[in-house]
Symmetry: C2
Subunit: 254 residues, 2 copies
Amino acid sequence: MPKPDVDPTVSLDLSVDRSSPVPLYFQLSQQLEAAIEHGNLTPGSLLGNEIELAARLGLSRPTVRQAIQSLVDKGLLVRRRGVGTQVVHSQVKRPLELSSLYDDLEAAGQRPATKVLVNTVLPASAAVAAALGVPEGGDVHRVERLRLAHGEPMAYLVNHLPTGLLDLGTEQLEATGLYRLMRSAGITLHSARQSIGARSATAAEAERLAEAEGAPLLTMQRTTFDDTGRAVEFGDHIYRPTRYSFEFQLLVRP
Amino acid sequence: MPKPDVDPTVSLDLSVDRSSPVPLYFQLSQQLEAAIEHGNLTPGSLLGNEIELAARLGLSRPTVRQAIQSLVDKGLLVRRRGVGTQVVHSQVKRPLELSSLYDDLEAAGQRPATKVLVNTVLPASAAVAAALGVPEGGDVHRVERLRLAHGEPMAYLVNHLPTGLLDLGTEQLEATGLYRLMRSAGITLHSARQSIGARSATAAEAERLAEAEGAPLLTMQRTTFDDTGRAVEFGDHIYRPTRYSFEFQLLVRP
DNA sequence: GTAGTCCGATTGTCCGGACATACGCATTGA
DNA sequence: TCAATGCGTATGTCCGGACAATCGGACTAC
């Protein structure tokens, strides 16, 4: 007598298209992720063993494992040797990516706007030169922007970039975020070093952000590197804490 | 005539111990990571192809790939199809893990101290109940701690935990961090949801942290989940921004 | 001289199998 | 009654091979 079927993936209508250029493991991981997202795979449920899943889909076990592993890395699944793979009791949304404020606001349904206050080239100060790894006094771009949401000022952004990487049109800067511009210029972002702190607003800062002098501000400094290790951007940002806070999810790596 | 040898890994004295219980791919990735750390593999240098490396070590290509992949995930290496694998021009230290303030301070050479102000069990407020996923009014632990470094107050930490997970001895809380206690109680931390902001200090907060009333404070709220998805901790922390800021590195996931 | 094409090199994907290891549970033993 | 043992099951590790996709440079054609 066959044991009762409790594998939730059998009722999931999983399938792969071998003629597609999309890798098989990726097709599978996307379908599993969608099933988790839509509640077809309920949190806590066991996934049924890899061997059988591979056989049912006509895939090899390494391919199935690769699909599952990618979801484990995303924090959606947990594997236990001798037990099985089960869906994490979610709460997981997105595990913190290198996001631009512009994209964040847009995704949140706030309509972001940007006002470019300064867009020029000038000699690098000592701090900027050190952060970007360029000679002090050498030319760098300097961009100062005011970011608004629903017409209200939300952040004041100062960025320095090495020259020669991309053209910074003021119109483009007002239409989208800096990261999107860099990506479309062929720069592949790799990592960033961030520092988040707080301090009181100076008189000038207070006026720009429509806050009172001495009001608490949220500060963020960030240096971004591309995959060759070059620093491609150094940002010094201040945010109004009543309007913005940093929200993110992070995973414990085992 | 053989082509000139430019593979930097040949002079690296890599070797694996097949009698060790440590997985082969892990042995290899650790040796490569150490070589990068010590400068024996210079940033930007190409790694020589996987096939040859596998042959030289007496390993299969999948095993070598697994080792390399783990370092790619850490941000230390970059792969390019048709080109090779090269060492990232570093700056990478650690890609943001779920760290406790206590461990951070200890690692930074500051000698952390903890003063437990409150350690009790009480009915959950609505906010705490919602964060922990327990019924409102049910029992929860409440811990209030003052964290000091070099005798100076640095942060004020309020934590709520479900009852029944672990015993919270005041002595233990003063000797180490909360996360270390949870891990040693057999709880496997999985993910956390964080929110970082800023606001002005109330009179009571100012006194506890030796700041002026209205001084800017850095705030962090965090809910931590174990691998079954249960919320195991809810923290509401305030930091003195003149003494502490959040520093971390993050990777762009491709 | 310039643009397009071909080709070698290298990683990306996938397969089918083998054995090791750890967990949970039932059985056995004191 | 309770602890120790054994067993089934699932994931973890590893192998050797095969073909595809892409990059960069050399070569060729215009």
